[in-house]
Amino acid sequence: MAEPAPIASSLAPAAPRARARRLNPRLWLSAGWILLLVLAALSAPWLAPHDPLAQDLLLERLPPIGFDGYEAGYWLGTDSLGRDVLSRLIYGARIALVVAVAAAFAACLFGSVLGLLAGFYGGWTDRGVSRGVDVWMAFPPVLFAVLLVAVMGPGLISVIVAIAIIDWTRFARVIRAETLVQSRMDYVQSARVGGASRRRILASEILPNVLPTIVALLALEMGVAIIVEAILSFVNLSISSDDPTWGGMIAEGRASLHFAWWVLVFPLLVLFLSVLSFTQLGEGLKDQFDPLSR
């Protein structure tokens, strides 16, 4: 996966941000899709035409609207147990978004704090964190995730904790490098000369300047978390297999690929758009914050 480059490194702390920035269309499009997902997730009980768990063997593998055999009301068809694909997608958005937000924030908090400390204090703190990152990078992440969820037992909390445990390194690496650069800048030196305590310098001088990077990474991480959750549900190790998850739907779709393509296509499309949106949002934010690429 793409290595997010430190973005605020060239940003002078007092740089005037007076010039109005034109927002990138890809930012709007991505934000729009994510907003749509949030709305769908919030209003799932009213929006979903059917119960996402209701099985009906008489209605199994109904094709979507516009195809032969379409049954009114089942817009995107049904899966091999007769469950409504659209309703499952809408309810699946709840799980995907909860995991994306909770896991990304947890990974962000843990990784950013460690990165800030390592970059600012150096010495043994830095050596400890960097060694931890090295060990973590030597694990294949998907296998690590599967292992963690297996250890903690399937469930929403396990998935969130597993993603946070795996992906804190993404934040720690980048924020450490960024903090290192910021610590050497003149404004930090002058704060030091001015008698500010180290903790104060870290909290009120350095943190605000690495914050844009953290925000951009956070958006990228939400995309990663959605994918990891989908992968975990795909190998049937996410939350209970009854709950509608996009990854679980994809696993069903992969199994019944030759009888019912729509069971795979629609969740894949939704997953695709969501990951693309979060990634574009993160990349777009990175560019917005970066004075060089404006």
Binding site: A2, A138, P140, V142, L143, A150, G223, I231, V265, V275
Partner: protein, 334 residues
Amino acid sequence: MLKSILIRLASMGVTLVGVAIVVFVLIRVAPGNPIAMMLPPGATEADIARITALYGLDKPLFEQFWIWAGGVLRGDFGVSITMRQPVGELVLSRLPATLELSLLALFIALIVGGATAILGARERGGPLEAAVDVFNGATLSIPDFLWGLLLILLFGVLWPIFHISGRVSPQLDLPFVTGFYLFESLLRLRLDLAADLLLHMLMPAVALALPLAAILSQLLKQGLKDTLQLDYTVLARVRGFTETQVILREALRNAALPTLTLIGVQFTFLIGGTVIVERLFAYEGLGNMAIDAVINRDLPLIQGIVLTFACLFIVINLLVDLAYTLLNPRLRHG
């Protein structure tokens, strides 16, 4: 230079020990007794205790670790609980399949990434460069798992020209003595077998290759564009070389060196990706076996596989560092 290699080797050792400890502790704090799961429902407490003792799972954690670590140092990785075979043998039986797939993917990534970078640099400022940029941007945003699903849909269902599950057609007679089926079939000039293997391997390999191809293309293209502004390439143009010749003969070598480190790191990501991509394509590699091992709580097998992956990652990083030092004149004489 020797000193820096020794420092790196020591650092590798520390990382490996770290990995071993993390995995070991992690899978033993798990609730649920793996032995109870593998015995038939009628097994008595005494049976469970006897088998638990057989695998050494009744000893304190610290002691278990020393027994296991001592075994690993002697090349003994323990016995798989579900398959009742030595872990070392099981890992070695699957490792070639994963290595072959990863190397094929790396090859594809280098060709695609290199070609698009050269094309983009040659056509810099034109519509073709813009097309390369769009391709890279889109490819980078999508992880290998989704590429795999998309390829399954496109070339498994809509236009079924590739196989989308397994490593080789089951009805074929396999004369192989090593696990490297593709390399061996090419060496033996059994092109029929090689074709069948490639039809199976191409889709998972492309899914793994695309993200790496895009990131390589991006970096190499920028490197080429920077190099093409330097005096010596201007001189080459004055001497009558065409733009393509200038890129291939003069610029490529200088621009390629910085991408080497990136390829090393990204190649380890690619190998990490084989775990889920193998699962997706039902490819009989190490990653697929790893997921089964986790699902079955096969502790010795999980440990062996994770350690194998960690070794692989660390060795690749070391090789890339060495290659970089050897190829970079500034470091070589430093």
